[in-house]
C-alpha cells in the first residue's frame, strides 16, 4: 500500500474520482438541453400541449442532474490550485484564462437563465421563456467548448512556448485552435447529445414496455430516434478522426490503446489486436487475438500503412503510459458502444419504416424496446471510457511533452489528500445512490398532464357562464 503515502498518486486518484463522478451529470444536462429546446420550439410552433408537457417532464430530470453537476463541478475548478499548484502556476497564462472564460461566458449564462427556465413558466411570456431555454442550452454547450479547448491544449500545446518553466502565450488564437481542439469539441458535443438521446429513448422505452402513456412517449421516442439517425453515425466518424489525430500527435497513447509493443514499419502489414493481455513487466502481450491488416484499414483504409506505427518499446518505461489494460479495454468498450448505438438506431429505423412504431402497436416491439432500455446507461460508460483513454493515455505527461504529472502535483502531506479522497468517495457514493433513487421516483411518477399551460386560459371543469340562446344550436353543454 505504498500509494497511501504518495501525494502524487493520491492527488491523481482524487482528480480521477472527482472528474469521473462529475462527468456523469453535465453529460446529460448539456445534451438534454438541446432536446428541451426542440420540444419547446415544437410547442411554440404547433401549440400542441403534448410538447409542453414533454418540456416540463424532462426538465425535472434535467434539474436533478444539474444540481449534482454544479455540486461536483466546483471541486474540479479548485483542485487545480489545491492539488496541482505547480502546474497551475506554469500554465495559468493560458489555461487559467480559459477557465475564466468558461465561467464568464458559459456558467453564468447557464446559471442565470436556468432559474427562468425551471421556475419561470408563469412569470415570463412563452417567447422569453424559450429564449431562456435556448440560452441555457447555449451556455451548457459553450462550457463543453471551453473545457475541451483547455484539455486539448494540454494534450497538444500550441500558440506559445515555455519560458523559465512558465507557458507564455504568443498567439492566443493558435493556442485556442490547437490541433486537438476542433475535433475534440465535436467529439464531446456529439457524445453528450448521443448519451442524452439514448437516455431519453431508454426511459421512453421503459414507459412503452409498461404500456404507460404510449401516445406521449412514442413522441419522445421518435424525436430521439430522428436525431440519432444523424448523431450515431456522425459520432463514429468523428471518433475515427480523433483516433487518427492520436496516431499523429500522441504516438505513445496510440501504442497504449493498441497494446502495440513493437514498431510496425511503414509498408508492412499492420494487424489490429482485438483482445489481448498486455504485460507491462515483460513488455509483451501474454495472449492476443488479432485481425490481419486491421490496423491498416482502420487508420488509412489500406492493408499497409504509409507511416510507421511506433511501438511502446520505442520509449523508456518512464516516458510512456502504464495501466495498459485499462487504456486498451476502455478504448474497445467505447468503440463497441458507439457501434451498438448505431446498430440499434438502424434496426429501429427499419421498424419505423415498416410502420411498426405506431403508438398503438409499439409495445409489441419488446426486444427492440429492451435494447433501448439496455442502451440507456451505455453512453455514460462510453464517455467515461473515452476520458480514461484520453487522460490515462497521455501519461506520464500533464502537459504533453512539457510537464510531467509527477512534477505537476502540489507538495501536500499525503494524509490531507487521503482524507479528502476518502470523504469524496463516501459523499459521492451517497449522492450517486440518492440521485438514482430520486431520479427513478421522478420517472415512476411520470409526466404531470394536469399542469396549466401558460398563455392558455385554463378551462373550468364546469362552465358557469350563463348560457346564451343561439338559434339552431344545441344548448351549451358542460365542457369536459
Amino acid at each position: 500500500m505504498d500509494f497511501l503515502s504518495d501525494t502524487v498518486v493520491l492527488s491523481r486518484m482524487q482528480f480521477a474520482l472527482t472528474a469521473i463522478f462529475h462527468m456523469l451529470w453535465p453529460v446529460l444536462t448539456t445534451g438534454m438541453a438541446i432536446y428541451l429546446v426542440i420540444v419547446e420550439g415544437l410547442w411554440l410552433k404547433t401549440r400542441n400541449p403534448t410538447y409542453y408537457y414533454h418540456a416540463r417532464f424532462w426538465a425535472k430530470l434535467y434539474v436533478l442532474n444539474f444540481g449534482i453537476g454544479v455540486a461536483s463541478g466546483i471541486p474540479m475548478g479548485f483542485q487545480f490550485g489545491t492539488n496541482w499548484a505547480p502546474l497551475s502556476e506554469a500554465i495559468g497564462n493560458f489555461f487559467g484564462s480559459i477557465i475564466g472564460f468558461e465561467a464568464s461566458w458559459a456558467f453564468m449564462l447557464e446559471a442565470a437563465f436556468l432559474g427562468i427556465m425551471v421556475f419561470g413558466w408563469e412569470r415570463v411570456n412563452p417567447v422569453v421563456h424559450y429564449v431562456a431555454t435556448i440560452l441555457v442550452a447555449f451556455g451548457a454547450n459553450l462550457s463543453t467548448f471551453w473545457i475541451l479547448t483547455a484539455n486539448s491544449w494540454l494534450q497538444t500545446p500550441a500558440g506559445g512556448e515555455m519560458v523559465d518553466g512558465k507557458f507564455i502565450v504568443k498567439d492566443y488564437f493558435q493556442a485556442v485552435l490547437n490541433p486537438f481542439m476542433p475535433n475534440s469539441v465535436l467529439h464531446m458535443f456529439t457524445a453528450t447529445l448521443e448519451t442524452s438521446l439514448f437516455v431519453i429513448g431508454g426511459i421512453s422505452a421503459w414507459y412503452l414496455i409498461n404500456q404507460r402513456q404510449p401516445e406521449f412517449f412514442t413522441k419522445s421516442f421518435k424525436i430521439v430516434l430522428a436525431l440519432a439517425i444523424a448523431v450515431a453515425p456522425l459520432q463514429i466518424y468523428v471518433g475515427h478522426l480523433s483516433g487518427e489525430q492520436v496516431y499523429h500527435y500522441q504516438p505513445t497513447k496510440l501504442a497504449a490503446m493498441e497494446a502495440q509493443w513493437e514498431t510496425i514499419p511503414a509498408g508492412q502489414a499492420a494487424d489490429w489486436s482485438a483482445i489481448a493481455f498486455p504485460n507491462d513487466q515483460l513488455e509483451r502481450n501474454d495472449w492476443e487475438i488479432s485481425i490481419p491488416n486491421g490496423l491498416g484499414y482502420i487508420l488509412e483504409l489500406k492493408p499497409k500503412l504509409s507511416e510507421p506505427v511506433l511501438g511502446l518499446k520505442e520509449w523508456a518505461p518512464a516516458d510512456r503510459p502504464h495501466l495498459l489494460s485499462l487504456i486498451y479495454y476502455s478504448f474497445r468498450i467505447m468503440v463497441a458502444i458507439g457501434f451498438f448505438f448505431a446498430g440499434l438506431m438502424l434496426l429501429t429505423v427499419v421498424q419505423w419504416l415498416r410502420g411498426k412504431l405506431a403508438p398503438e402497436s409499439i409495445s409489441q416491439q419488446r426486444w427492440l424496446l429492451r435494447g433501448w432500455l439496455f442502451a440507456a446507461p451505455l453512453g455514460y460508460i462510453a464517455v467515461e471510457c473515452g476520458w480514461i483513454v484520453r487522460c490515462v493515455g497521455r501519461q506520464p505527461w500533464a502537459m504533453y511533452g512539457e510537464i510531467r504529472t509527477a512534477d505537476a502535483a502540489s507538495n501536500l502531506p499525503p494524509g490531507n489528500v487521503l482524507t479528502t479522497l476518502t470523504l469524496f468517495s463516501a459523499v459521492y457514493t451517497l449522492l450517486f445512490f440518492a440521485a438514482l433513487y430520486f431520479g427513478s421516483r421522478v420517472i415512476r411518477q411520470g409526466p404531470n398532464l394536469d399542469l396549466p399551460i401558460p398563455g392558455v386560459e385554463s378551462k373550468p371543469a364546469v362552465n358557469v357562464e350563463p348560457g346564451e340562446f343561439v338559434p339552431n344550436q344545441r344548448p351549451v353543454e358542460a365542457q369536459q
Binding site: K60, G81, S88, G96, G100, A112, F119, P413
Partner: protein, 337 residues
C-alpha cells in the same frame, strides 16, 4: 510597456475585487439564509426560505467560480499558492457546497426531509466557515519561498485571528441573509427575521470592532499602513462611517422597513470590503506577494480584459433581470412543480 505592466495588474486587482464583493454579497445572503434555515420552526417556513433562493443560488455561487477562474488566469502564482496553503479550509468549503447544492432538489423530492434539511443548513455553515478561515488565513499572510511557493505547514491558517475572522464572516452572512429574508417574506416569518437581523447586527459589530482593534496589534506590517498619512485619514473615516451605517440599519429594522435593511447591510459590506482592499493593496497575499509579482503575462491580462471584462455589464444585466422576474414576496414553499 512599463506602465502597462503596472496598470494591467491593477485593473485585474479591481476586477477581482468586484467579483469577490459581488460574491460575498450575493452568496453571502444565500449562505446566510442556509444557516438560518437550521433554526426554522416548521417545514413550511424552511420551504419558503429555500424557495427564496431556488432560482438564484446557482448564479450567486457562480461569482465565486468566476472569481476563482479569473484569479487563475490573472494571478496564477497567487491562485496556486493560496489554494495550496489553504487546502483544508478550501475543502471544508467545497464539501459544504456539495451538500447544500444537492439539498435543493433532493429535499424537494424526499418524503423524509430531515437529512436534506440538515445537509442544506450544515452545508451552508461549512461553506461559510471554510471561507472565513480562508480569508483569515490569507489576511494573516502565507509563508512562501523566494519564488512565491508555499512553504508553510498544513495548519498555518488556523490561529486566533482567523477564528475571529471566520466567526465574524458567519455573523455577517447571517445578517445579510436576515435582511434579505426581511425583503422577500412577510408576516410572522418576516418578524422572525427582523429579530435575527438585529441579533446578527450586534454580533457582527462586536466581531468587526475586535478585528479592527486586533489588526494593528497582531500584524506589525499592517500598522505602518494604517497609521501613515494619507491612509490614516481614510482608516479613521471607515470605522466612523461603519458605525453610522449600523445606526441606520438599526433604525430601519426598528421601523420595520422592508427593503432598506438589506441596502444598509450591503453598504456595510461594501465599506468593510474597501477597508480590506486598502489594507491589502498592492499585495495579493499580504506582505509576501504583490499583484505585480503574481500577475500573468501582459498579453494574457489584456486578452482577459477583452473577453471577461467586456462581459461584466452583460452578466450584471441578466442577473438583475433574474431578480426582476422573481421579484415580490414569497408566500409558499415552491414556485410550482
Amino acid at each position: 510597456m512599463e506602465t502597462l505592466s503596472y496598470l494591467l495588474p491593477q485593473v485585474w486587482f479591481g476586477i477581482l475585487a468586484l467579483f469577490l464583493f459581488l460574491y460575498v454579497m450575493l452568496d453571502g445572503f444565500d449562505l446566510g439564509v442556509g444557516i438560518l434555515s437550521l433554526t426554522s420552526s416548521s417545514e413550511e417556513r424552511r420551504g419558503i426560505l429555500m424557495t427564496s433562493l431556488s432560482n438564484i443560488w446557482d448564479a450567486n455561487e457562480t461569482w465565486l467560480i468566476l472569481m476563482g477562474g479569473s484569479l487563475f488566469g490573472a494571478f496564477p502564482l497567487a491562485y496556486s499558492t493560496i489554494l495550496n496553503a489553504l487546502y483544508i479550509p478550501i475543502f471544508i468549503m467545497l464539501f459544504g457546497f456539495v451538500f447544500r447544492a444537492v439539498a435543493f432538489e433532493f429535499r424537494e423530492r424526499a418524503n423524509r426531509k430531515f437529512f436534506w434539511n440538515f445537509a442544506f443548513g450544515a452545508g451552508s455553515f461549512l461553506a461559510a466557515l471554510g471561507q472565513g478561515f480562508a480569508l483569515g488565513g490569507v489576511l494573516a499572510g502565507i509563508e512562501v519561498d523566494a519564488a512565491g511557493h508555499f512553504v508553510g505547514t498544513t495548519w498555518d491558517w488556523f490561529n486566533l485571528p482567523s477564528v475571529l475572522v471566520a466567526l465574524t464572516l458567519i455573523q455577517g452572512y447571517v445578517l445579510i441573509g436576515s435582511t434579505y429574508l426581511v425583503w422577500r417574506t412577510e408576516g410572522e416569518l418576516q418578524a422572525t427575521h427582523f429579530r435575527t437581523a438585529k441579533l446578527a447586527a450586534i454580533t457582527t459589530l462586536v466581531g468587526a470592532i475586535v478585528i479592527t482593534i486586533a489588526t494593528p496589534i497582531f500584524y506589525e506590517s499592517a500598522r505602518s499602513r494604517l497609521f501613515d498619512p494619507p491612509f490614516v485619514y481614510i482608516f479613521a473615516l471607515i470605522p466612523l462611517l461603519g458605525i453610522g451605517l449600523v445606526a441606520l440599519l438599526w433604525r430601519s429594522l426598528s421601523q420595520k422597513q422592508d427593503g432598506t435593511p438589506l441596502i444598509w447591510t450591503i453598504l456595510i459590506f461594501l465599506l468593510t470590503f474597501l477597508g480590506l482592499a486598502l489594507v491589502v493593496f498592492p499585495y495579493i497575499i499580504p506582505r509576501s506577494i504583490t499583484i505585480y509579482e503574481a500577475a500573468a503575462d501582459p498579453s494574457s491580462l489584456t486578452i482577459m480584459i477583452i473577453f471577461i471584462g467586456a462581459l461584466i455589464p452583460v452578466m450584471l444585466f441578466y442577473n438583475l433581470y433574474q431578480y426582476f422576474v422573481f421579484r415580490g414576496k414569497i408566500t409558499s414553499g415552491s414556485y410550482g412543480e
